[in-house]
Amino acid sequence: MNRAWLLALGVFATIVASVTGLVLLPDRQLRGTQPVQDEERGIAVPAGYFGDAEEGRKVYMDLGCIYCHTQQVRPEGFGADIERGWGMRRSVARDYIHDEPPLMGTMRTGPDLMNIGARQPSEQWHYLHLYDPRITSPGSIMPPHRFLFEVRHSADGLPEDAVRLPDEFAEKKPAWIVPNDRARRLVAYLKSLDHNYEVPEAR
């Protein structure tokens, strides 16, 4: 082969074809997907992220949660996501219309979080779990996020969301963990993850 123009043409044509097929066409198909009205909640869903949850999404991203947690429920009959209680239906493109970027993930060292807000609505659970995952989930290999908390040993002047640390996890008893702002935002985000609503395409 000695025709440079043929080589150049081939190199460009192949990549232009694939970006058209794999990015531009699906974008055309899915662009304009709108929220749907959820009768139960009385709002349009997905609702998007506001306030602390919106900020918390950035914490989720900067701590690299995606390397162990997915946010996508696979369809019935493909894996056991629904049977495991990770969601009441498969995830659809509509679920991600507010997600910039989507945090679908590719690894499940830990469980899926698409609906973690519905599965674990307790803030206290999240704070203890983040502080040291083995408090709530013995045998977990998730890293502790103690750097998101302050430990105090006196009950005086504790903020409302301080959580008493179980004695066996406290170096000095009694101990309370006080989440910092990033921890509060992160938990607000996790609690906002609830896609258990009906969508027409996954009925």
Binding site: D62, P102, M107, S140, I141, P144, H145
Partner: protein
Amino acid sequence: MSSHAETIPPAPEERERLTRIQIDRSCRQTVVWYYASAVFWLLVGTVLALIASIKMHTPGFLADWEWLTFGRVRPAHLAAMIYGWGSMAGVGTLLWLQARLTRNRLPLPTLLPATAVIWNLTVTFGVIAILAGYSTSIEWIEIPPATAILFGFCIAVIIAASIRMFRSRESEHTYVSQWYLFGAIFWFPLLYVSAQIFLHTPAAAGAVKAAANWWFAHNVLGLWFTPIGLATVYYLIPKVIGRPVHSYHLSLLGFWTLAIFYNWAGTHHLIGGPLPAWLITVGIVGSVMMFVPVITVAVNHHMTMVGNFHHLKHSPTLRFVVYGAMCYTAVSFQGSLQSLRSVNEITHFTHYTIAHAHLGVYAFFTMVMFGAIYYVAPRLLNAEWHSAGWIRVHFWTTAAGMAIYWLGLTWAGWEQGRMMNDPRIPFLDIVKYTVPWLWSRSAAGVLMTVGHLAFAWLFWNMLRKRGAYLPGPTLLLRKGEPAAVAAGGGE
């Protein structure tokens, strides 16, 4: 160059040798910069890899330093390896191969070394940004979008140099390696810049960003590392054993089918995900069609090697390159099978995928780059590798380490996937099941680290010219074994 060479008209073979020396010398500054930086990033990436690996079975390890939390160390490892080690070793090799194949001196002697400096600054910036919490959280492209401008500049210079060499090539005919390299230097910037646009602007929305993500990420492997790796294999195997590539037509078929099919494989990362079924099916078709270029290239390389496998015993370059080429076939077969829905249902989201990724980037690409550096660096620096023993250590620790890595995680991942698909098994039981295999990965990592240290030590000594003066290549000979037994072509 001695004045001797200029005064007496040299014989044709001597002239040929002198031309090669001139070409190599013109590459020295740029390619040595790229290689030395690559080795540095290999070490950085190795340290980050070990930290990440240990954290997976011992989560309390270095847990209180936020910069080193798992979710940051892991992408930092990837950035250091992909954009630091892999890309810089790749660019160095790509420039040298093009100079050799077009029989040109490497042009732009100021700008090209400058790109190595800029490339290093960009990777440094990217890795620190990830560790400091400024990751984009988009796999394979965690480093901030601003890096596109810097990489873009570097690649523009590299493209300019490549075009200049290509246009003034000595023979009209081009060699198969040149096609792959030509593809790689255009594909990479197109991928990188368009990915930034799709991922950080509204050009693609919501779930489609995930499609753009995997179009990019898979193509970094398929259209950047793979063509550079294959170009290197296509050049070095015939060079070392001293016989031409088996079939021109297979080379042609292999290149064009790769260009056509690899492009489309990326969406197999989204099987079972929330995107239109046709989009996923296209990705699966592209992945399965990869059997064509892979088998073509494997046959071509194998037929070239037939009757010459004994050279593996003595040539460090050939050992690494052939190991890499074989792993290319293996990883591609595995990848095609993995893209089938029934297999993917099990392997997706598990350590199986991590093992697969390392079989590609490490066992194929990295091993080929090791082989390339063993071949190229002595020619640039006029010195030989100072110790065959350390080369042996490098080869066996990395080859065995990679094998242990792959076996452990492939098994663990397969079981993990099967257990995950059985809702009666509690999730934490699956986690506990994988832990011993995560330890085996750390053990493999230690072996590979030893190899990398041996390699860095060899490279360092080469920079300091501790090895013998060039004409005698470093061969892996037993004590008292004459070099003549290893006589092959170019090495």
